[in-house]
């Protein structure tokens, strides 16, 4: 009874809170990082060095008036932010933070559900997330959000193909769809898959940028062309939900990249005996560190690269990444058949 219902519930509560808190502070991190890149200070007023800024922002957003446009499709308008935040949060169910950790003598695997279709589950959940954006665009009954919504969904669908192709080659490599299994396969193969599959890694990273609507692919919210993008008509907490979803998706993509390519909770050089000192750091700390590196690169890229034009985006997706993904899959499968276990 305890292990079937109570323990997963406890993990869900802990992970949801951790995600929401880190998402809140990621907004501060993003503003600070971009400010440093642009030789500014960023938020400085609330708390020491602006460290309490996210809390002030949250209170502001909660107190703001919640407006529904008169001509909007009310039900769908309410539904859209929910549809975009829920997939972003339930994706964390299959992300393995550590093999197990011991609390008060209990040994607990640090993953909510180690299902044997974990990777497919993530792909399908992200494909549901598209609805949030497209519905927000439709329900606002306004020109800019509709255009942004259609743009966003076209972008997500295009890049999903390349990313899925790449995930299939990772499945061929590891021989399993389970996230835990993929990490163990990397341990047994004595290599992080980033070194075995560099092409797949690059495709996943570019696809991840596009799927989370981050710069340089943040066309759905291109201010110059579309005012605010698909959330132009949203205010207050509903607007905040879209942002929470975007940042939570960034964490999810970073965690997926960590799991697939950087060996998840494994310490660097997990098979090298004389580096045993590194083993004293718990696995979940390694996991969070690697994830943080990806998140930082996300912010760094946003501060560095200009936005793509829409036709360039589509050309990159369909004419470069998808053929490359298919070629990578064919090469991986060929090697797998020839060598057995690469």
């Amino acid at each position: 009874m305890t292990s079937t219902y109570l323990l997963p519930l406890l993990k869900i509560v802990v992970i949801l809170n951790a995600v929401l808190i880190s998402v809140t502070f990621m907004t501060l991190l993003e503003r600070k990082v971009i400010a440093w890149v642009q030789v500014r200070l960023g938020p400085m007023r609330v708390g020491p060095h602006g460290s309490l800024q996210p809390i002030a922002d949250a209170i502001k957003l909660l107190l703001k008036e919640d407006i529904t446009p008169a001509r909007a499709d009310k039900w769908v308008f309410t539904l859209a932010p929910i549809v975009s935040i829920v997939p972003a949060l339930i994706a964390f169910a299959v992300i393995p933070f550590d093999r197990e950790a011991s609390f008060f003598g209990y040994r607990v695997p640090l993953v909510v559900a180690d299902v044997n279709v974990g990777l497919l589950y993530l792909v399908s959940i992200t494909s549901i997330g598209v609805y949030g954006i497209i519905l927000a665009g439709y329900a606002s009954n306004s020109k800019f959000p509709l255009l942004a919504g259609l743009r966003a969904s076209a972008q997500l669908i295009s890049y999903e193909i390349a990313v899925t192709m790449m995930l299939v080659s990772m499945v061929v490599m590891s021989g399993t769809l389970s996230m835990v299994g993929i990490i163990e396969a990397q341990y047994n193969a004595h290599v992080w898959y980033v070194f075995a599959q560099p092409v797949a890694f690059v495709i996943l990273f570019i696809g991840g940028l596009a799927e989370t609507n981050r710069a340089p692919f943040d066309l759905p919210e291109a201010e110059q062309e579309l005012t605010g993008g698909f959330h132009t008509e949203y205010s207050g907490m509903r607007f905040a939900l879209f942002f929470l979803a975007e940042y939570a998706n960034m964490i999810v993509v970073s965690a997926i990249a960590t799991t697939l390519f950087l060996g998840g909770w494994l310490r660097p050089f997990p098979n090298v005996e004389w580096l045993w000192v590194l083993g004293y750091v718990p696995g979940w700390i390694w996991f969070l560190l690697k994830t943080f590196v990806f998140i930082y690169v996300f912010l760094w890229i946003r501060a560095t690269l200009p936005r793509y034009r829409y036709d360039q985006l589509m050309r990159l997706g369909w004419k470069v990444l998808i053929p490359l993904g298919i070629a990578n899959l064919i090469v991986t499968a060929t090697f797998k058949v020839l060598i057995g276990h690469p």
């Binding site: 499709d73 039900w75 769908v76 539904l79 299902v115 044997n116 279709v117 497919l120 589950y121 792909v123 399908s124 959940i125 494909s127 549901i128 598209v130 609805y131 497209i134 519905l135 439709y138 509709l146 919504g149 259609l150 969904s153 076209a154 669908i157 769809l177």
Partner: protein
Amino acid sequence: MLESIVFYTLAALIIGFGVLVVTTRNTVHCVLFLVANFLCVAMVYVLLAAEFLAIIQILVYAGGIVVLYLFVVMLVNLQRPPDASSGRRRQSSAGFALAAVMLAEISAILVFSAARPASAAASVAAPTQPAMGNTQVVGMMLYSDYLVPFEVASMLLLVAMVGAIILARKEA
């Protein structure tokens, strides 16, 4: 007990959403009810311990195909349904005929499986080796016992894709 409560709730939801899909006037709402319907069907698959099928149901139908429906609906922007009064009678009689065929098929399946319960159960249980998971079994079946149907289906999809590209290129 718990399982049957969940099953009947899901069944009721599926039928309810199905009715809403055909009765709602607003096309976008129809598509949304269709998504809800697909998600409930996926939950029934989970209940049957077919989690691979459930995920594929969400990925392909709810996540892929219906997004394209939504796309078409928004681009075409149907204010009101096209004038359907001319062909309505023929359509409804065709609908009844199809429903009758479906009913006959389901009852035939029920009768046959009731007639030979032991052999039917055996044929289902035999290929499922306990050592392999659901997903592996599906994969093995697709590439061994059902190889020809699988290849025919993928050929059909390829033909459809080539056809779509040819139709689109004619404009340019």
